[in-house]
């Protein structure tokens, strides 16, 4: 048999209800039950083998790199849990058929339920740590869906969220623990891990593992102090409570304790933590249960208490305690599921779960009452019922342990107190609901439920009796198999007899019963005592906690991030300063070995003017036009510097870009305030900025100096050597631009093109205030297009075009090229715009500029693609020299087509940017006289 089918069938089963819910409730339930039932049959089939001590396994590779494989194994423990999950699951399916109303989406409900079932099966069957975690988290997710099933109810939403948050957090801790285990052991295979207990216990990370691991287990099984989510998960429909919060999900936590008992237990750390937490949970749960008026609330706290009990058993340092724990897992699942279902029936048939309203139901539903009373008696630990047996074992083990050293006597004492409390709340459950006078203001007259709604309860109660009377026959083998899987070694002797004679445990039981009865009899005082304390609603507290966290996070976040660009830029600059300044501190001497060039007066003066221009720009930055004029000096001198330092192409480019930039700034300045308010920044801010600016300047200056004074060995010799022969041009810079690194240039003009498009986008639909006067309040001059300017501009246009043709054509061999030529043409055209206005130009230059951009880009790209025809990579150039009579020798090169593309793109983009901005301003200008 393939073990994979056991979880796989229910997984496929999640689809069944979604597909079948239209066929009616009974059909849906029946069809839904089908695949889990098959799965159960498979499990049952495997029983003989497991009882014989075999562990069935199945494995497939999944993500072995992280240690995650699809691996299942079925040993005694897994068998026990599989039976519980599938058995009780099927009963819950049947029960829910009657519980859910017509308003509830049955398909969805069953689907979630089966998904949960799959997840649980996955957890218990996993033979891989990471796969175990995988299913573990799936239980959290599917239980979230189930708890929040009535999502319109606030309680359901909040309860589900809380459960998910707590169990999710635990899941993360568990993941950490499992990875640590896997890394320590060197394998994520559970079998291997189980055999490596010593390695783990001796590892330095063992305490970390324990803490993380227990966080996972305790949150899931609602152990103190993480218990508070469980009662609020009762907002779920009762079948969910019966399933998740009695038999399965909360048991996943104790399953984990059982599963890893062989490797993680057996240290003081484990025993102390686990037993103390278990004991605290046991007492707190039992005590609180007593005061709950809500039937499900009582059961919820009782569940917490019993989970504490099981945990306590795993925390006692005797082997029999672990066996008792396994036994109680079974017993608790059986009686608690039946109690939840009974509570659901009561709720369903009477319309209330409040024990202050519910009284004397015995008269109305004697049969259900009987069932509930038997189950409750089991919960209280009454002899001849299953609950009694495991509780008796607990009492026995508390007497044999020495977990807390000299304080170990506390444990039996407190366990007895817990037993008394259990008796008390069980009594309350029975007396308060079924007797204690007449019902008060019930929404409906209670009556017995439909026949088949009772069946699951009947079955479970029969099981309680069966186990209670003939334990060995009922669960002996199962318990043996499960317990040996937990201990991972031969079992010590133990007996499941009903009667062990008069002994300590029995005395404790009697004490518990007597104490419980007394407690219940005196409940009025107790309730009055408890009434003094304000009720803490965990849900509200939890929400408050979350809100506190988010609020604090918001405070810290706003402190960190004040949404100010000034701070962002400051941080960017400061950060750059630090990370660049740091290595610079290791620079022994800034000056390198390259001989410096001599200085001359002209250069000194130019540098002085450059510095003056820079400072003036900064000083006058609040007088914007003035700053613009000042920065022009800087641009001009930079251009001259390029020319001086043997970069004529750069000088030309810088000059033309400079003018285009000035025009751009002027266009923009029309709409911006002419001046920045003087109180722009506080003096402190100015000082801070000045300091950091100077530091950055110093660092960059030093870097620049260090760079300049060091010798350079670069790849450039290749370009100089191959420019003429390989690229067909003597202007190496241009050949680099259109050939060696033409790809950069293609990218560069693409940037220009995109900028044009983006600016067009920015301008679309822009509404701006248009000043009717300049900043001094002077109305604008009336002469729109001064005649001389217009006339001279248009006369210069042909000349400018000729010059740009000149610059373009010689670019390959002399300074120049497509980019500069394009800018000259564009500026000459912009000059026409300035001189004549948009309307005049519109008649003459009427096509969308982005076409020009596209054509330019297309030319450049296609000139590059041309080389494909010759089987060469993109942008491989071709050139040759020709000779014509009369005209002489001349060169043709494919790079010129590329450069032509550059030329057109530059014109298109520049016009798109500048002319469109100009156009905008015109269309937005108010009509004379105002409108």
């Amino acid at each position: 048999m393939n073990l994979l089918w056991i979880p796989l069938l229910p997984l496929l089963g999640t689809l069944v209800p979604l597909l079948s819910y239209r066929f009616g409730r009974t059909a849906t339930a029946a069809l839904t039950a089908l695949l889990p039932a098959l799965s159960l049959i498979l499990v049952v089939q495997a029983i003989p083998a497991v009882f014989a001590g075999e562990a069935l396994t199945w494995q497939a590779s999944w993500i072995p790199q992280v240690g995650l494989n699809l691996a299942f194994h079925l040993d005694g423990l897994a068998l026990l849990f599989s039976l519980l999950i599938l058995g009780i699951g099927l009963l819950v399916i049947l029960y829910a058929r009657y519980y859910l109303s017509d308003n509830d989406h049955m398909g969805r409900f069953y689907s979630y339920l089966i998904l949960f079932m799959t997840a649980m099966l996955g957890v218990v069957l996993s033979n891989n740590l990471l796969q175990l975690w995988f299913f573990w988290e799936l239980t959290s997710i599917s239980s979230f869906l189930l708890i929040s099933f009535w999502s319109h109810k606030t309680d359901a939403r909040k309860g589900a969220r809380m459960a998910l948050t707590i169990t999710g957090a635990g899941g993360l801790a568990l993941l950490g623990a499992l990875i640590l285990i896997g890394q320590t052991v060197g394998s994520y295979e559970l079998r291997t891990v189980l055999a490596s207990g010593d390695v783990l216990r001796e590892s330095a990370v063992y305490p970390v593992i324990i803490v993380l691991f227990l966080l996972g287990a305790f949150t899931k099984s609602a152990q103190f102090p993480f218990h508070f989510w469980l009662p609020h998960a009762m907002a779920a429909p009762t079948p969910v409570s019966a399933y998740l919060h009695s038999a399965t999900m909360v048991k996943a936590g104790v399953f984990l304790l059982a599963r890893f008992y062989p490797v993680l237990a057996d240290t003081d750390l484990w025993f102390v933590i686990v037993s103390m937490v278990g004991l605290a949970t046991l007492l707190l749960g039992a005590y609180t249960a007593l005061f709950k008026h809500d039937l499900k609330g009582l059961l919820a706290y009782s569940t917490i208490s019993h989970l504490g009990l099981i945990t306590l058993l795993f925390g006692l340092d005797t082997e029999l305690a672990a066996i008792a724990a396994v036994f109680h897992i079974i017993n608790h699942a059986v009686f608690k599921a039946s109690l939840f279902m009974a509570a659901g029936i009561i709720d369903h048939e009477s319309g209330s779960r409040d024990m202050r309203q519910l009284n004397g139901l015995w008269k109305y539903m004697p049969y259900t009452a009987t069932l509930a009373m038997v189950a409750a008696a089991s919960m209280a630990g009454v002899p001849l019922l299953n609950g009694f047996l495991s509780k008796e074992m607990l009492f026995a083990e508390t007497l044999h342990q020495s977990t807390l050293g000299s304080l170990s006597w506390l444990i039996p004492l407190l366990a007895t107190v817990g037993g008394a409390l259990a008796v008390a709340y069980s009594l309350r459950f029975i007396h308060d609901v079924f007797f204690n006078g007449e019902p008060i203001n019930l929404p409906r007259t209670p009556h017995e439920p439909p026949r088949y709604m009772r069946v699951p309860v009947e079955i479970l109660v029969v099981l309680c009796l069966l186990v209670g009377v003939v334990p060995n026959f009922a669960v002996g083998d199962l318990l043996n198999a499960a317990a040996s899987a937990v201990l991972y070694k031969p079992l010590p002797d133990f007996s499941l007899a009903v009667w062990h004679g008069f002994n300590g445990p029995l005395l404790m039981s009697l004490l518990a019963v007597a104490g419980g009865a007394t407690l219940y009899y005196n409940r009025r005082h107790l309730f009055a005592f408890q009434g003094q304390f304000a009720d803490l609603d965990a849900k509200i507290e939890f929400e408050k906690g979350i809100q506190w966290i988010t609020a604090k996070a918001a405070v810290v976040h706003h402190w960190l991030d004040n949404a100010s660009l000034q701070r962002y830029v400051f941080l960017l600059i400061l950060f750059s300063l630090i990370v660049t300044g740091w290595p610079l501190l290791q620079l022994d001497h800034a000056q390198g070995s390259r001989p410096p060039l001599p200085v001359n007066g002209i250069v000194l003066v130019a540098a002085g003017l450059l510095i003056i221009g820079t400072l003036a720009t900064v000083v006058f930055s609040h007088l914007r036009l003035l700053a613009l004029i000042m920065i022009s000096i800087v641009g001009l001198i930079v251009a001259i510097a390029f020319a001086y330092f043997s970069a004529p192409d750069l000088a030309l480019t810088q000059l033309s870009v400079e003018v285009a930039t000035i025009i751009l700034f002027l266009l923009a300045l029309y709409f911006l305030p002419q001046k920045t308010p003087l109180r722009d920044s506080s003096p402190r801010r100015i000082v801070r900025d000045l300091s950091i600016a100077s530091l950055v300047g110093a660092v960059i200056g030093t870097l620049c100096y260090a760079m300049l004074t060091r010798p350079l060995h670069s790849i450039s010799e290749f370009f100089i050597a191959n420019s003429k022969t390989g690229g067909g041009g003597t202007n190496v810079v241009n050949v680099i631009l259109v050939d060696f690194r033409g790809f950069d240039t293609l990218g560069e003009i693409t940037v220009l093109a995109i900028a044009g498009l983006g600016i067009y986008k920015l301008l679309a639909g822009m509404r701006l205030y248009v000043p009717a006067a300049d900043s001094d309040g002077r109305p604008w001059a009336k002469d729109k297009n001064p005649m001389m300017l217009a006339l001279i501009s248009q006369s210069l246009l042909p000349l400018a075009l000729l010059v740009s043709a000149y610059i373009f054509l010689r670019g390959h061999n002399m300074p120049g090229g497509g980019f500069i030529a394009g800018l000259i043409t564009a500026i000459a055209l912009i000059q026409q715009y300035i001189a004549h206005g948009v309307a005049w130009m519109k008649v003459r230059l009427n096509f969308p500029y982005h076409w020009l951009i596209a054509v330019g880009l297309l030319l450049a790209t296609f000139s590059g693609l041309g080389s494909w025809v010759f089987g060469q990579p993109f942008l491989t150039t071709w050139f040759d020299y020709f000779s014509l009579p009369w005209i002489g020798k001349f060169e043709l090169a494919s790079a010129m087509v590329f450069d032509l593309g550059v030329y057109f793109t530059v014109i298109g983009a520049t016009l798109l940017i500048l002319a469109n901005l100009g156009q905008l301003t015109t269309s937005e200008r108010p009509l004379p006289g105002g409108k």
Binding site: L164, G168, I546, I573, S714, D744, I853
Partner: protein, 506 residues
Amino acid sequence: MLQHLIFFPVLLPLLAGIFLLLPPLQGHVQRQRVAVFMVNTLLLMSAVLLFQQSVQHEPQMYMMGNWQAPFGIALVNDKLAAIMLLLSAVLGFAVHLYACAGDDQRGPFFHPLFMFQLMGINGAFLTGDVFNLFVFFEILLIASYSLLIHGGGKHRTQAAVHYVLLNLVGSAFFLFGLGIIYATFGTLNLADMAHKAAQLNSEDIALAKAGGMLLLVVFGLKAALLPLHFWLPRTYAHTSTPVAALFAIMTKVGIYSIWRVHTAVFGEYGGELANIAISWLWPLALATLVAGIIALLASQTLKMLAANLVVVSAGSLLLTIALNTPQATAAGLYYLIHSTLMAAALFLIAGLVQEQRGQAQDRFVRSRPVNQPALLGGLFFIAALALIGMPPLSGFVGKIMLLQAAGHGADAAWIWPPLLISGLAALIMFSRAGTTLFWRVQGVSQSQTVAHPLQITAVILLLLTSPLMVIWGGDLADMTMAAANELHRLPQPLTPAVSAVQEVLK
């Protein structure tokens, strides 16, 4: 034709962008949509082919202009690049589908800009030249500036002002850095740099370090490294939905560049320049993660939540870089793919929620229900699971890989808590977001808006990648490990590359 395959991820969107500006495509919505759809399909196909090539061969080069490296610009298709290209193709494909439901009509030039954006991203992934990387950065930046403002609006403009100005300063630093790099290395080719790093003149070492660190600043700015990440959440949250989803890959370009430059060039074999960024990255990545978690917890809208998750994932990724082992890089790569696609999906879902929730948009407040609660709720749920890192979706594999990559020494002690807490914070926020947005409702939906089939398709397409990444997690893990190994070893010396060119051209 196939010998030029490496160039396709750049060429196709470039050509498409150009033709979209010209008749007969220009001005025709449907034609533009179909055209871009076809180009995206082609991009996907070429990415798949390149991916196959990268698996089967050593890294392949495409030499622009047929100039041999390091003199010409090389496009390099290695496993890392191929994975990133595939990622961008999938993302682009899905996001474009979503945009075609109507977002593309909220301003001019959406389609060409979209293409140019992809061109920039793909170029950055492919280029083997550090200055060319700058150029492609600028292409993707200018396209992102333009896309960011798509649709207009006050918040978008404000976000754009911050994003653009900050990145312009960043670009300036990029150039400072490149200047130093060239001044010391004398070359621009990344592989060549990697070889020269160890042989650098001793008097140039400090300089080269400064240059390398400047590049880290620039890449960190893109990758959302604290303290340079503050711009990100608002920018992403305020831009239009498809653009935000596309931007999910932008931080990854930063991460990728750090890999290319600081893991490969200034990496193990860098002599005195080895691992210059690592000691800085350690605390900063951690701090990024923590700041991301705090911001995550402070999120007030779904888009903001998604944006802050981007920061969290950036922090996690930067941590993998700080770990500086092939295993960590492989983990990071897996996590990168997952987080990109899922964050994008979440942005798209947030957009759908915004559209259907009226005034309340995607704010976490009680409001009228969305028009299609089951559909949107379901999609949200899946995305949330993936992003929290819960099974059965890809996030959990990523999380396991990250945790394992940290080893279990002191590194893990630093990395594990924030990593685990980030998952918890996401869990808290998603459960809060989901229950509020879909369940905490009053009245009936007033919105008649129904999610367009294309929008749904896009979201499902993205979400579908997550289970696939789990099902074929083994193969993917192999692939990321191989890519990481390729990245961490010293690249082939450039001389044999000449023959590689000829091989490509055969």
